[in-house]
């Protein structure tokens, strides 16, 4: 559940999602669930030529299994907090 919690801290921030079909979508992360399905608002697409209608799309729901990368800004991540959470999760898994 660590990644789920982590993504929840990123809600309302701007992220770029790269899908497995090489498409990059940039937008405000609106929600995330336990499958890491993502919902983005105000999207813009790096190569709109492949899907011309994306310019008329306001918000988008992306199935978690089709995501390759999520690009984050460096200062969006509190590394100490994340390390701490990772250790805590590892500890509780051991018990």
């Amino acid at each position: 559940m660590l990644f789920f919690s982590f993504f929840k801290t990123l809600v309302d921030q701007e992220v770029t999602v790269e899908l497995k079909n090489d498409i990059e979508l940039k937008g405000t992360l609106k929600s995330v669930d336990q499958f890491l399905n993502l919902k983005l608002d105000n999207i813009s697409c790096s190569n709109e030529s492949r899907y011309p209608h994306l310019s008329s799309v306001r918000n988008i729901f992306i199935r978690g299994s089709t995501v390759r990368y999520v690009y984050l800004d460096k200062n969006m991540v509190d590394i100490n907090l994340l390390q701490d959470a990772a250790r805590r999760e590892a500890m509780s898994a051991k018990k």
Binding site: N37, H53, N59, T66
Partner: protein
């Protein structure tokens, strides 16, 4: 409910299995919360086999199984600035086949299509088939080359979106 959500009692840091199930049950509905706002609106859906559907979202569930009304399948042949459409009525889409879905602004939707030429659907679907075959060939070749170096190239024939 409200007591179990408060600060844990001293010496009881871990939640019980029953409580965990309760939380998990709630999580199941976050997928729902994400698309509930698109019900009765026009959406597009990209499927794993590369098909693109436009239609009015009538209902869905936590797996993103969808029911689309007035469904239209559209193929873009962007290299040649062409597109094709095929009306297919009511569609039920199984959630595992969904890559992404989004609400379409019906005022702006047709803007890119104005500059494109509409061609018969059969013609376009044949062109798409050829394009997919070529892609399958190049991807599986890439897979073989990467396998030679002990690398995995994650590609499945059914995933041609």
């Amino acid at each position: 409910m409200s007591e179990s959500r408060g600060s844990p009692a001293p010496g009881k840091s871990k939640i019980t299995e029953g409580e965990a199930d309760l939380y998990l049950d709630q999580y199941n509905f976050t997928t729902t919360a994400a698309i509930v706002g698109s019900v009765d609106r026009k959406i597009f859906v990209l499927l794993r086999d590369g098909r693109m559907l436009f239609g009015i979202l009538r209902t869905f569930d936590q797996y993103a199984n969808l029911i689309l009304q007035h469904c239209v399948e559209r193929i873009y042949i962007t290299e040649e600035n062409k597109y094709a459409e095929n009306e297919c009525g009511v569609f039920m889409v199984r959630g595992e086949n969904v890559v992404m879905l989004g609400e379409v602004d019906i005022d702006k939707e047709d803007e890119p299509l104005v500059q494109m030429e509409q061609i018969p659907f059969e013609e376009a679907s044949q062109m798409k088939q050829e394009r997919d075959d070529a892609r399958y060939k190049s991807e599986s070749q890439k897979g073989r080359q990467m396998a030679r170096y002990g690398l995995i190239h994650d590609f499945h024939k059914s995933d041609i979106y």
